[in-house]
């Protein structure tokens, strides 16, 4: 298949792996921020192709995984309100909150519907004019423009029963937070592909300049990722950290100005709670005042019981790259995709799920 097979070419992948091994002379610790990269790396066995001195860590780049328990509890509480229809991407259903999950709430009678786009949610709102339809806005800058567009459309069509529980997050603030925490010493970051197609590369410049960390935006095919690793290692070896793009077919340095404008028109930055990291100022997106009537958090009053974390679950540390899933005592023993204790085991992009599904071939 065109534009896919080229990037899965075995000969090219092997050649890149050899080149990486040839130029790499010192230990290098790289973090892929994005959950899509984690899955691609595990699924293609990319670690096996890298020399042992290159370590790859997974970061907090799965939007489902970083959603705080309190926010999931709030969604479940909203679902229990009379007549409310909750619309959500499927990944959220199984994520355990403090006491329940949306899936369990649905079995108990709440009307919770899986949608594949915000357009589906709008349609449900149009079809059920007498019932409040709440879309769970979870995601990063890749999802945010579509949520913004949905709010604008709802406004235009006067769909007053459409609401968003806005839990959208932005990626640069938690990257900075991780670096400032200093728990993990990184040499390079595999910057997210889809997010960068929206925000461009400017936000990463501070990491290269002020933290001395190599940054390369990568695509999601094996050759994309290996190329990014090669560029990162070249930067690290030369001692000249920079921001580069190894995914030129998807990402321009300036990002997507139209999507960014859409976001600016509808959202403003706010503090957001990140599982495993805590509250990070300016890392969330909330609806601007002019669109406040679409904000489910303002329009509905719910008081879920105080949030709690599952005892023994180390998702937080996994998300910060401090531990790998097999180092968690619950991994594979108690926590499995059928019985997930933490969100990293639930989402298809979760680090624990990726390790569970594809891992075990190498200890690294």
């Amino acid at each position: 298949m065109k534009f896919i097979d080229e990037f899965r070419d075995a000969g090219l992948a092997q050649k890149l792996a050899h080149r990486i091994a040839a130029i790499s002379t010192r230990p290098a610790r790289l973090m892929e921020f994005c959950g899509g990269h984690t899955v691609a790396i595990m699924r293609n066995g990319i670690r096996q192709l890298l020399p042992p001195n290159i370590e790859m860590l997974s970061g907090p780049g799965c939007p489902v995984c970083v959603t705080a328990n309190a926010d999931i509890d709030k969604a479940i509480a909203l679902a229990a309100l009379p007549d409310v229809i909750i619309t959500t991407f499927g990944d959220m259903l199984k994520v355990p909150g403090s006491y329940s999950s949306l899936q369990k709430a649905r079995a108990a009678g709440s009307d919770i519907r899986v949608v594949y786009s915000t357009q589906d949610a709008l349609q449900i709102a149009a079809d059920n004019p007498r019932r409040p339809v709440i879309f769970l806005g979870i995601g990063f800058e890749t999802t945010a423009p579509t949520v913004a567009a949905a709010v604008l459309q709802a406004d235009l069509k006067n769909l007053r029963n459409f609401y968003v529980l806005c839990l959208l997050k932005t990626t640069p603030p938690p990257m900075k937070a991780l670096l400032d925490l200093g728990e993990v010493k990184l040499n390079g970051i595999v910057c997210p592909g889809h997010v960068s197609s929206i925000i461009g590369t400017k936000p990463y410049e501070t990491y290269a300049r002020n933290y001395g960390i190599a940054c390369v935006v990568a695509g999601f095919e094996p050759v994309d990722i290996l190329q990014a690793v090669e560029m990162l290692i070249a930067q690290i070896e030369s001692g000249k950290p920079d921001v580069e793009i190894a995914y030129r077919r998807g990402v321009r340095p300036e990002g997507n100005p139209r999507a960014l404008e859409l976001m600016r028109n509808v959202f403003e930055a706010s503090a957001a709670d990140w599982r495993g990291i805590g509250t990070i100022p300016g890392s969330g997106l909330k609806l601007k005042k002019e669109y406040a009537t679409f904000d489910a958090a303002l329009e509905f009053e719910v008081e879920p019981p105080p949030a709690r974390e599952a005892p023994g679950c180390r998702c937080g540390e996994v998300l910060r790259g401090v531990v790998r899933p097999p180092q968690c005592g619950l991994f594979r023993k108690v926590c499995t995709p059928e019985n997930p204790i933490g969100p990293c085991m639930v989402s298809s992009e979760g680090t624990c799920a990726a390790y569970y599904q594809f891992g075990g071939m190498d200890g690294r």
Binding site: R8, R43, G45, K94, Y116, P222, S348
Partner: protein, 334 residues
Amino acid sequence: MEDKILLAHGSGSKLSHDLVEKILAPPIDNPILARMDDSAVFDLAGRLAYTTDSYVVNPIFFPGGDIGRLAICGTVNDLSMSGAQPLYLSLALIIEEGLEIADLRRIVESIRDTAEEAGVQIITGDTKVVNHGKADRLFINTSGIGVIGEGVDISGSNARPGDRIILSGGIGEHGMAVMSRREGLEFKLPVASDCAPLNKLVAGMLAASSNIHSLRDPTRGGLASTLNEFARQSGVGINIEEDKIRVHDGVRGACELLGLDPLYIANEGKLVACVTPADADRVLAAMKKNQYAAQAAVIGEVTAEHPGRVVMKTGIGSSRIVDMPTGEILPRIC
């Protein structure tokens, strides 16, 4: 007769009789069914295989098939995978009131055509009509009986180290064909369900070799599930190569778009076989003569290493574990 199914069609009244006698029975008629007694009565000798399955696919018509064809193929294939020659099927319909009678006719005709193609007879049946909302248009249950030939011993627990693993063609077509017709997920996908009766394919394979150890049709859970079942049941490891597994471009494209892995998507007209190495070429040649297995290929082999695990050599030359699917992949595809 009315143009829609009414509750009265299931009441045992004249309307019910009309439904059976005018619409359901004539296309599938045969001497055993025609007696219209409480049970089908027939003679059968030898080792028998017996299976049942229910079909709740949504939508009931999809590219490449419909719930009727699926209900016949599913049961015919389950019998075939035990090495049995399928002979007789039962057919039970649970109809939601309001189903268009024209649609019901189309499905019964499809059942007739598929049964004819497979060479099986439907010898007993049942019809129920339930209130609106208590079923989704039409649910079907079929069961089937088949006869197992002398010396045939096929089981998921018979795979042995060294066995070649043969896959009969491209994967994921049924799952993606149904998915493409789902509400809210309408994308143009030139992929039709592979739904097909495989009994003649299996008969050809059995004629070519008496050393076929395991056979299974990778339906729900896809190829990944079937291989994991073999590995666990037989206590062996399985090695496969990603490059050898055929995936139709349309299926690949849709999987990329939806973030799905074709290894986990359902098939309804494919089989996987574990065959003694010396016979593999002969079995493969026999398979390729069948219209439903023209693209059959050896995709890997059974190994004594890593028992219970399926390991795949990826397209870029590394390897990874292929685990059982977890949770719901695509709801109600069969």
